[in-house]
């Protein structure tokens, strides 16, 4: 004991700050029927067609966001590091803007800017606008992750090596740069995934049938189901993080290895 006492105390206090509410939510979600513990609330949630719909809607949106974001961020971060290192602070500042500009401001500006264009006239257009907003929200996480990943490999020499072997820019990006920032890209992608799955403001204001607004709707109309839903979405997020670790480990060892 002795020396170990204080660190453990702080650790337990910190852990309980997260775990107690989580446990309380879980416990509450099991009390849908008086006098017994039951998964009835979970069954209700999973049986609700709107859950499945909104969840798969957000899932598709998240995947689209990740793909678009990667296609924008990787070439940008690569080019900035390779040819425009002096612009790096500027680009970094722009990618941090979503932390400064509130989502409400972002979505209203987008809606105003693109009003009376196909982007706001149709369901598909609004979805494109939604993905666009999420791509912007993903910038801080994606850019940082990719930028760090690029720094860990010698992109300068790798680029020139590929060039001298006859490769043009598309080949260099697809065969050399993307595979080598894959792991960092993945970690950025999963944070993006978690954000998009839970996002409420933008989805609600663009009237999109997303998972965030669905959770909100459920919370205002049911008692036990929202807790069950919270636990389910926690589980899904954790599964996503576990997936980062799992996919990352194999690739990480191969790419970095002992130096």
């Amino acid at each position: 004991m002795g020396k170990r006492f204080w660190p453990w105390l702080w650790f337990l206090l910190g852990a309980s700050y997260f775990l107690v509410p989580l446990y309380a939510t879980f416990d509450f979600s099991l009390r849908a029927r008086r006098g017994e513990l039951t998964f009835a609330a979970y069954a209700n949630v999973l049986r609700d067609i709107k859950f499945v719909e909104s969840f798969s809607f957000s899932l598709q949106t998240a995947l689209a966001t990740i793909v678009v974001s990667a296609l924008v961020i990787v070439p940008t971060a690569y080019w900035v590091q390779l040819r425009l290192p002096r612009l790096r602070p500027v680009v970094e500042f722009f990618t941090l803007l979503p932390f400064v500009v509130p989502a409400v401001v972002l979505v209203f500006s987008l809606a105003r800017t693109y009003s009376r264009t196909p982007l706001t006239d149709s369901r598909e257009g609004l979805w494109v606008l939604l993905v666009g907003s999420y791509v912007v929200l993903s910038f801080p996480y994606m850019y940082r992750a990719v930028d760090t990943g690029l720094r860990s490999i010698n992109i300068h020499d790798l680029t020139e090596a590929a060039q001298s072997l006859g490769a043009g820019w598309p080949t260099i990006l697809m065969r050399v740069i993307f595979p080598n920032v894959y792991v960092s890209l993945l970690s950025g992608a999963f944070i993006t995934f978690a954000i998009v799955m839970g996002e409420f403001t933008i989805a609600a204001l663009l009237a999109q049938p997303a998972f965030g607004p669905y959770m909100n709707l459920l919370a205002s109309s049911k008692v036990y189901e929202p807790s069950a839903l919270a636990i389910i979405s926690f589980g899904l997020t954790w599964a996503a993080i576990a997936a980062i670790q799992w996919i990352g480990q194999g690739t990480q060892a191969r790419l970095v290895g002992p130096r």
Binding site: N154, L158, G166
Partner: protein, 355 residues
């Protein structure tokens, strides 16, 4: 006509000039080294040949084709980097086959060529390894194979051995030379290591401050340096300050002792100050023998035993003279503090003009 012709190339970055009036003709199959201290423009010149930098003015012609404005990926020039620059996400075989894959060659041909190159670099069993599983020397051999796989017109090596330790450096150096001879590929090799340049090259281009100081065979550059810079950069050199005693017969005075050089010095007035350069291995400790030799007397300052070579430092008033002699178990090396007389031939002396 030369295989590679660099004509009047100049490169400036803003106000600073990296390379100036660079002229060089390299024959097919020749091995040429660019040798110089860091910042002398050797790497910049190499990068212009590779296409990574564009000359500010001048032309570069490879095999009769002016490539000055050709991007690097259309020059068909193989490049080996100091950092190896292997693609970490690919196996050794995929690294070597990369250039052929980019050129859309059939899979069978790629595999055949990769196998052949793995054999050439003596690593046939490493095709499935990843770069991180290899030692530095092995990685650089793979990088060499990768550059050779596309059958480039030119092979460019940018300090390829600098990141390796001494033993591997020596063996890989020999291997590079053997492979180059075997394939007859025209090669440019950038290094700051004069021993490397001399061991490998057909000709050496010695550079300093963006300019060529001398172009010649290792023998010429070492024995007949054209400038003071070359004399001091290539090999170890003693430079003694001397004054001209008799210009017509080539007599000089070094700290009051008279020596003679092999040629008259009509361009110098009596009393003028000149530098006299002598290679350490051309001085002998045996002060008595030989009647036609120069002699200088001083005291032994230090003796370093290097195995095959014994390096003696001699104090000569203000100057220090380095002398290299072969080890000989029959002869005791001189003791520090002892008086000593050394001998060297008049034609071992090189008079440096800008004393």
């Amino acid at each position: 006509m030369a295989f590679l012709e660099i004509t009047g190339v100049r490169k400036s970055f803003g106000a600073s000039v990296a390379v100036e009036s660079f002229h060089l003709a390299v024959a097919r199959g020749e091995f040429v080294s660019f040798l110089g201290p860091s910042g002398c423009g050797k790497t910049t010149t190499l990068r212009m040949v590779a296409g990574f930098e564009k000359p500010t003015s001048g032309r570069i012609v490879i095999d009769g084709v002016d490539v000055t404005d050709t991007p690097p990926n259309r020059r068909n020039v193989g490049m080996v980097f100091q950092s190896y620059a292997l693609f970490p996400n690919m196996t050794v075989a995929d690294n070597i086959g990369f250039g052929l894959k980019v050129a859309r060659r059939p899979a069978g041909e790629i595999q055949e060529r990769v196998t052949e190159l793995l054999r050439i670099i003596h690593m046939p069993e490493y095709g499935r390894s990843y770069p991180y599983q290899l030692s530095g020397g092995q990685q650089q051999r793979v990088a060499l194979a990768r550059a050779l796989a596309i059958q480039p017109k030119l092979l460019l090596l940018d300090e390829p051995l600098s990141a390796l330790d001494a033993k591997i450096r020596a063996s890989l150096r020999q291997e590079i030379r053997d492979i180059q001879r075997q394939l007859g590929i025209t090669t440019i090799y950038v290094t700051h290591d004069q021993e490397e340049a001399m061991a490998l090259s057909d000709r050496i281009v010695v550079m300093s401050r963006g300019r060529i100081e001398q172009v010649g065979t290792p023998f010429e550059v070492y024995n007949f340096p054209a400038t003071r810079f070359v004399a001091s950069f290539v090999g170890t050199l003693n430079v003694l300050q001397a004054t001209v005693a008799d210009a017509a017969t080539g007599r000089l005075s070094v700290q009051g002792q008279e020596i003679r050089v092999a040629r008259p010095l009509p361009e110098h007035a009596p009393g003028a100050s000149v530098g006299v350069a002598i290679r350490p291995e051309l001085i002998s400790l045996d002060g008595q023998a030989g009647h036609d030799a120069n002699r200088l007397s001083g005291t032994v300052a230090d003796v370093t035993f290097l195995g095959p070579i014994v390096r003696v430092q001699m104090h000569l008033s203000g100057d220090v003279l380095h002398i290299d002699i072969f080890n000989n178990p029959q002869l005791r090396p001189p003791q520090p503090g002892a008086p000593i007389t050394v001998r060297f031939a008049p034609d071992a002396c090189l008079v440096l003009d800008d004393a």
